[in-house]
């Protein structure tokens, strides 16, 4: 049980974090257990469901498949970091999920929202096909995806408005 630890650091939700962890410790456990960031969920642990999705340097990654050493020094965003400096204010994607009913039990929701963020950062106006491709690694058992689809479409509009008129939301 005494495997060598490493001095691990990363930027998590804009904050520098440093921890002693085993290099092979899963990012999922670092987040959920060591840092108590339980917004990132655990469900299949084999990279199939997307409940554990986080952004590493802006790319969506299943944290259950990522070991600590692989994200050493990286910039990691979890669901808790999405609303930026103003915790009271929701990110437009979160707002859209809330308005459209893009969740029920909510367990897939953080991962779903993170994947949506990655998508909309790349593509401001994704079509249906692109949305489906971007989210097909996120399983949801409750909604049947109808509300999620509507939420992502509405989020795209919201995000675009926000970038066009930064004064509105910032």
């Amino acid at each position: 049980m005494n495997r060598a630890s490493m001095n691990w650091n990363a930027t998590i939700n804009g904050k520098e974090r440093e921890l002693e962890v085993e290099p092979s410790r899963r990012l999922l456990d670092v987040l959920r257990t060591d840092l108590e960031l339980t917004g990132t969920k655990v469900s299949c642990e084999i990279g199939r469901c997307g409940a554990c999705m986080v952004l590493i340097d802006g790319e969506p990654v299943n944290s259950c498949l990522t070991m600590a050493y692989q994200c050493q020094g990286k910039d990691i965003t979890t669901i808790e970091g999405l609303h930026g400096d103003k915790p009271a204010e929701l990110h437009p994607i979160q707002e859209a999920f809330l308005e459209e009913g893009g969740f029920q039990c909510g367990y897939c929701t953080p991962g779903m929202i993170i994947s949506t963020k990655a998508l909309l950062d790349r593509n401001e106006q994704p079509d249906e096909h692109t949305i489906k491709e971007a989210l097909c690694g996120n399983l949801c058992r409750c909604t049947g995806y109808g509300g999620i689809m509507r939420a992502v479409e509405s989020a795209a509009v919201k995000c675009k408005t926000r970038t066009e008129e930064p004064s509105v939301a910032e």
């Binding site: 339980t38 917004g39 669901i79 969740f103 039990c105 953080p110 097909c136 690694g137 058992r141 049947g144």
Partner: protein, 848 residues
């Protein structure tokens, strides 16, 4: 009304519990931790059927970092659980009956240590014959899995003389249908935190669909008084029936008590698959005959359900399947027998639809086959044979009459999807072939489709019972109060597993009291804080919450308005509840309300009214009027109607503020502002085991595309129409139907927990395939039929299950139309749909 955001107006509300879900702030019970907590792990059998010859935990106990190991010797109370029949060992003594059976459990300082400790436990097994086939279990020389043998339950429904009637049938269809071992696949696996409290109590934070039932079961295992246990059971990351039964609770509780420390358990997905419930695989033989004109004459059904190793709710599931095996049709001669059989295949239990899904798939399949034999339109054939409004229920029991069946049938007939089917047929276009008319249709250009792509449209019907049925204790109730913080507080023992119960309650309260969401407090899922109001199962909570509030609102309003009168000097008749507090009623102005809200109030008045509307049989009134018990004030069913006109209009919300709720409560005795009600879910007065009283109706149409090269089936369009009374929460309603529908899509096309010799072959989400967003199409329509007969006292019906029960037969009918193949097994075997590419049989063959 076609349900969507645009059509919903103000009822489309952001969910009260939504913000913390979209921000990740919500702590699910499996996210919880406690100072100094230990991690629990469970040792499960490696054989599906074996005798335990010896068990040695000493090495695990001695391992540093391991705090406790428990076996059956550590169970102080009843070492069994099971909602209906406690026959499943919490920790097995001398025998294991499935691959999820628990033998020991460990608590250690880290999850890794706990996992490692399991490997130090030595179990010696003597392997026994594995029963994988229910038919084998029924053979005389089969090993007996339980003292009473291998049969959990039998059902039988006989009406008329089917044997004789078959002789007179013009057409008979015989078919055997099989359905899969579907997994609930909730995203949050089972788990929780178990905390021994300093006052000697135990707090259990673990998801379940009925906190009080868990409390009873855990107390039974611990040999404790129930009151010593507090069960906190919401929020839940999905359940669908799967978390109704105990899962990790026995181990968490026993370990916490043995160690005196908080213990956390959270199943891995693999363990969830291995130990968790599944939907009953059923083999359903049906033989159905009609006369020359197409009228159903005789119907014979044999259901064999694989209930797995233990009972849980296997018997009620079979009752439900039996009741639903005759569909909403008039059949004079019926002979249905069901049997639920123990095997060594996992454990089958409660799952959304509760046996209805399997039976409806088979029955609707029969209807389509018969219509085809007769050369009749399948919908016309159903209309010819449907039950009449005054007919008794499927078990010949008295049921509550609505026009739901007729309404959904008519709605489906007029739906665009069904019209499209008709238009194609009218145009003489051969089913399965492609047609130019479709190029204009929702951008589905098919002109260039290759010949192996074929389309078809099918439909199916469901009449689905709600509530637990006759003969099962089905308590309901609730509490309404003005709490110390000056909020209107409701408390129910219902659970939030995502369905939107909290949102629905908020809307109900705003409807009743015109108050602001911030004036409301909703308490659920905590046995220390809520009254007994039964389970969140069987599509019952919405109806029960609504009925309870209808009962409670009158005495509650009377009490707080009288108190406001006392404090303000303004007569109570001039006062009403509104935003922030008690407000003065605006003069007798006209009443401008959303229609649905006034409907609700109207029904509310009727529910409380003591007069018997003439067309309602007396006993139907009785079932919902008994035992209104209200603390604090004398109130009874007979005076309950009087206060309802106090709720006049939504302008009440903003009349002049007389006294805030906070001021009011500060100057009142709290216990005078608390009201409880207890009653039973409405059941049929006839003594028919499991028979229902309230039914919900749905019709579903589906269009599919079959690729006969690959056997792939793609759903293109779905239409659901549901007659379930007024829609309180449209966002929740759509979500339930869409979610149920897509879950049924999985049941139909991809989902099966494959077992081989008692072992799961599909151990995780990589091989157990649930639909992804790729499988979803943009045109799922949900049409809600909201009207109920005048004076219907039961209000909105639950819709948690109805979206999932009738899609499968609609899809298989569509496949038949597209590819000419009748599918009898689910999930649809793709190989059955692969067809030669128009190549002649003789091609390539030449005489020597």
């Amino acid at each position: 009304m076609l349900l969507n955001r645009e059509n919903s107006g103000e009822r489309w509300r952001k969910r009260r519990d939504g913000k913390e879900k979209v921000t990740g702030e919500l702590r699910y019970l499996t996210d919880m931790t406690a100072e100094g907590m230990l991690y629990g792990r469970v040792l499960r059998s490696i054989h599906p059927h074996a005798r335990i010859v010896s068990l040695d935990v000493s090495a695990a106990e001695a391992y540093p970092g391991v705090v406790a190991v428990i076996t059956h010797l550590d169970v102080p109370g009843l070492n069994r659980f099971g909602i209906a029949t406690p026959d499943q060992p919490a920790l097995c003594e001398d025998r294991v009956r499935y691959i999820g059976d628990a033998i020991a459990a460990v608590a250690a300082h880290t999850p890794e240590l706990a996992e490692y400790a399991l490997s130090l436990i030595h179990v010696e097994y003597e392997v026994l014959e594995t029963i994988t086939d229910p038919l084998r279990a029924l053979e005389e020389d089969a090993p007996q899995l339980h003292p009473e043998g291998n049969v959990l339950h039998r059902t039988s429904v006989k009406q008329g003389d089917a044997n004789e009637a078959f002789a007179g049938c013009a057409h008979i269809v015989r078919e055997t249908y099989r359905t899969p071992r579907q997994m609930h696949a909730y995203m949050e696996t089972e788990g929780g935190l178990f905390v021994p409290e300093s006052d000697g109590r135990l707090t259990v934070y673990a998801p379940t669909q009925h906190g009080y039932k868990d409390r009873m079961q855990i107390a039974r295992i611990l040999g404790w008084e129930e009151e010593r246990i507090r069960v906190v059971s919401s929020p839940i990351g999905g359940s669908f029936g799967g978390k109704d039964e105990l899962n990790v609770q026995p181990y968490g509780s026993l370990l916490a008590l043995k160690t005196g420390l908080p213990v956390k358990l959270h199943n891995s997905r693999k363990e969830s698959v291995r130990a968790g419930l599944k939907r009953h695989p059923m083999r359903i033989e049906m033989e159905t005959g009609i006369d020359l004109h197409g009228r159903l004459l005789a119907h014979r059904v044999r259901i064999v359900a694989d209930t797995g190793a233990y009972a849980t709710l296997g018997a009620p599931v079979l009752n439900f399947a039996t009741e639903h095996a005759m569909g909403p049709y008039r059949i004079p001669h019926v002979d249905v027998e069901g049997i639920s059989v123990f095997t060594n295949n996992g454990v089958s239990g409660e799952f959304r639809g509760f046996g209805g899904n399997q039976a409806i798939f088979a029955m609707e399949g029969q209807m389509d086959r018969l219509a085809e034999k007769l050369g009749m339109d399948p919908w016309e054939f159903r209309m010819l044979n449907r039950r009449q409004p005054h007919d008794p229920g499927p078990l010949q029991q008295e049921i509550w009459r609505t026009n739901g069946l007729y309404q959904v049938m008519e709605a489906l007939e007029h739906s665009t999807i069904w019209q499209r089917r008709q238009a194609r047929l009218d145009a003489g276009i051969e089913p399965g072939s492609f047609v130019a008319e479709m190029s204009s249709d929702k951008d589905r250009s098919i002109k260039s489709q290759p010949p192996w792509i074929k389309r078809g449209i099918g439909a199916a019907l469901a009449m689905h019972g709600a509530g637990l049925g006759y003969g099962i204790e089905d308590p309901a109730g609730g509490r309404l109060s003005l709490n110390a913080a000056g909020q209107i507080e409701v408390a129910f023992s219902y659970e939030e597993f995502g369905q939107g119960l909290i949102a629905t309650m908020e809307i109900m309260l705003i409807d009743l009291f015109h108050c602001d969401p911030s004036d409301i407090s909703i308490i659920i899922g905590d046995t220390d804080r809520v009254p007994h109001s039964g389970s969140s199962t069987a599509s019952r909570s919405t109806t029960m919450a609504w009925m309870a509030l209808q009962r409670l609102k009158v005495p509650f309003l009377e009490a707080i308005l009288q108190q406001a009168e006392r404090l303000s000097g303004i007569p109570a008749q001039e006062l009403t509840t509104g935003i922030g507090g008690i407000r003065r009623k605006p003069g007798m102005k006209d009443i401008m309300q959303p229609e649905s809200a006034s409907n609700l109030q109207q029904q509310g008045q009727v529910a409380e009214s003591s007069s018997n509307p003439s067309h309602v049989p007396d006993h139907q009134i009785r079932v919902y009027h008994e035992s209104l018990s209200i603390h604090g004030h004398q109130a009874s069913a007979s005076n309950a109607g009087q206060g309802s006109e106090q709720i006049t209009s939504s302008s009440d919300a903003t009349g002049e503020l007389v006294i805030s709720y906070q001021q009011l409560v500060a100057q009142s005795a709290l216990d005078e502002l608390i009201f409880d009600t207890h009653f039973q879910y409405p059941t049929t007065p006839d003594e028919v085991m499991g028979g229902h009283f309230l039914y919900t109706y749905a019709a579903v149409a589906a269009e599919v595309e079959v690729n006969t090269l690959t056997g792939n089936v793609r759903l293109l369009d779905t239409y659901h129409t549901v007659a379930a009374g007024p829609v309180i929460n449209p966002m929740g309603f759509i979500g339930q139907i869409e979610g149920g529908s897509v879950m049924a899509l999985g049941f139909t096309l991809t989902e099966d927990s494959v077992m081989d010799d008692g072992h799961y072959m599909t151990k995780n989400m990589d091989t157990y395939i649930i639909p992804t967003i790729q499988d979803m199409h943009s045109s799922l329509e949900v049409e809600a039929i909201e009207d109920l007969p005048e004076n219907d006292p039961f209000g909105p019906r639950g819709i948690g299950e109805i979206g999932s029960v009738a899609l499968a037969p609609a899809i298989t009918a569509a496949i038949r139309q597209a590819a000419g193949v009748w599918v009898t097994h689910l999930p649809v075997p793709r190989e059955r749909l692969i067809q030669p590419l128009g190549v002649g049989q003789q091609e390539g063959v030449s005489p020597r």
